[in-house]
């Protein structure tokens, strides 16, 4: 059976999963919602105190955390809502017009 990554709008009916089922986890990661952004958050690592308050507020699960520290934004999925920039107590996130 085809994997989600192989399924697209050209796939014939014979090759689509029966009953529209998907047998893999989190295939939405394949989707680039980053190009929805008109504004973009900018992570200022030097100012960040690693309080992580921005992390749970992200609607797009786009602030990865490793070893107790947040990393750079996942720009493939970040839609640029700006919530993180508002909740940051230390001004470590800027919110700027997206340059394409």
């Amino acid at each position: 059976m085809k994997k989600a990554a192989e399924i697209n709008e050209h796939t014939p009916w014979q090759e689509l999963t029966p009953g529209a089922e998907i047998y893999e986890p989190a295939t939405s990661k394949l989707v680039n919602t980053g190009d929805w952004r008109t504004m973009t958050p900018v992570f200022l690592k030097d100012k960040c105190k690693q309080c992580l308050l921005c992390v749970p507020f992200c609607p797009d699960s786009s602030i990865p955390v490793q070893d107790g520290k947040r990393g750079e934004f996942d720009f493939m999925h970040c839609k640029g809502c700006g919530i993180c920039y508002k909740v940051c107590p230390f001004g470590a996130i800027q919110f700027k017009r997206e340059e394409k």
Binding site: L16, P18, G19, A20, E21, Y23, E24
Partner: protein, 420 residues
């Protein structure tokens, strides 16, 4: 050795359910199918099955429970009738499009307007396009046999469709008749285990069910369903063959009764077929070439097979126990007539809508219908195609068929004698 017994239709289906011992039953009581979950609850209460019975708060939740349980990897069943099935309506489509082989015992009953608890086929006929396999039963025996065949059909990997096994409310559901039961272990062996490839509770991988399907995909999924329904035709016959090996009882898409040389024929569904057969027997004794086809499988519809079976007949009456308000005939008529379109020589065809809301139909009524068919066969004149039988008329002489007046009188008597 078959076990001889006498059971009501509801008890027969409940017995099949007990023998199958499914994983989950979700059901809500509605006349006349109520007894099925009642019987089944007593099996649960007495440890005859270890099924989880979910006494839901509505039929909508009954079907939701079954869909969810089936998606989770369990075998799920329900029983309902009439308005109960109408409340499940949107979920009927969900079950079939998710390709979940839920099994439903439908005890056919009229739909409300006015409320009526007696038999006709408006509930299942309305759901004929919901993607469910529909198998109809004439007798308690058939209701039992069909239910046992339902899972091997629906769960077949090339099919994966829900199945409703229909029987006529009260007429068979509440009537005791002789039957032959199959031993429990043989039923279990016949039905087998439910082994879906993917399910929500699977260890190896998660499963996501029920997406939003944009236009770029929707059509492809419907095509898949349509193909599965075609596959079901093959599987239904295979399962019937295995069932015959087990029991000696033969099933197909429909039963042909005295059809070989028949000049007139009735096409009908359900318990009234038996009454029609009794009429055919009498006509045959008089040397009249009457025959009858009883449709067992309405979805998928056996188009080519039916056309072949009727090709040599001169006049056919298709009997619908449901109105479809097309102003041109009932659902079985529409499909039967369409099935015959490609024949080079077609029989004359008329349609009778009969038996709505429990209106009785007798051997004598069938006599009149066959007499009418003989006339049509002889004259080649069909007359009015779309007819109703059994209703009172302001001018009884204007009827296409001389309906036996005694039944009307007797019906009046019946109303009185039943506190109605």
């Amino acid at each position: 050795m078959a076990i001889k017994d006498r059971l009501s239709g509801n008890e027969a289906v409940a017995t099949a359910m007990r023998q199958i011992n499914p994983d989950v039953m979700g059901a809500f009581p509605i006349t006349p199918s109520t007894e099925i979950p009642q019987y089944f609850s007593s099996y649960v209460a007495n440890g005859l099955v270890d099924t989880e019975f979910v006494a839901v708060e509505s039929e909508h939740s009954a079907m939701s429970t079954c869909i969810a349980a089936e998606a989770a990897g369990a075998r799920a069943i329900t029983a309902t009738s009439s308005c109960g099935m109408a409340l499940m309506w949107e979920l009927l489509y969900v079950a079939s499009s998710f390709r979940l082989p839920v099994t439903m015992a439908l005890v056919n009953r009229a739909l409300t307007g006015p409320i009526n608890i007696n038999n006709d086929h408006s509930d299942s006929m309305g759901a004929r396009d919901s993607g469910w396999i529909q198998i109809y039963s004439e007798t308690n025996q058939e209701a039992y046999d069909n239910f046992i065949q339902a899972m091997p059909i629906g769960e077949n990997k090339s099919v994966r469709l829900p199945v409703m096994v229909c029987q006529d409310g009260f007429i068979t559901s509440h009537a005791v008749e002789n039957m032959e039961l199959i031993e429990d272990e043989k039923v279990q062996e016949f039905v087998g285990e439910y082994e879906p490839e993917n399910y929500l509770l699977k260890k190896e991988n998660p499963l996501a069910v029920g997406p939003y399907g944009i236009s770029a995909y929707y059509m492809e999924f419907k095509k898949q369903q349509a193909e599965a329904m075609k596959q079901a035709k093959k599987v239904i016959l295979e399962v019937a063959e295995d069932f015959e090996k087990l029991t000696g009882r033969k099933y197909g898409f429909f039963e042909e009764f005295m059809m070989e040389d028949a000049e007139t024929a009735v096409v009908i569904i359900g318990s009234s077929a038996g009454t029609g057969k009794a009429a055919v027997d009498l006509l045959r004794q008089q040397g009249k070439k009457a025959g009858l086809i009883k449709i067992r499988v309405f979805r998928p519809f056996p188009m080519e097979e039916l056309a072949e079976a009727l090709a040599h007949v001169k006049a056919v009456a298709v009997m619908d126990k449901a109105e479809s308000f097309s102003a041109a005939g009932g659902p079985l008529f529409a499909e039967t007539r369409s099935a015959l379109y490609d024949l080079s020589e077609r029989p004359k065809m008329i349609n009778y809508v009969y038996g709505l809301g429990g209106r009785d139909i007798t051997v004598e009524d069938f006599d009149s219908i066959y007499a009418e068919l003989s006339q049509i066969a002889e004259s080649g004149e069909t007359g009015e195609v779309y007819r109703h039988i059994g209703q009172r008329e302001a001018d009884e002489t204007q009827k296409a068929v001389t309906y036996k007046t005694y039944q009307l009188e007797n019906n009046n008597w019946r109303w009185q004698s039943n506190g109605l």
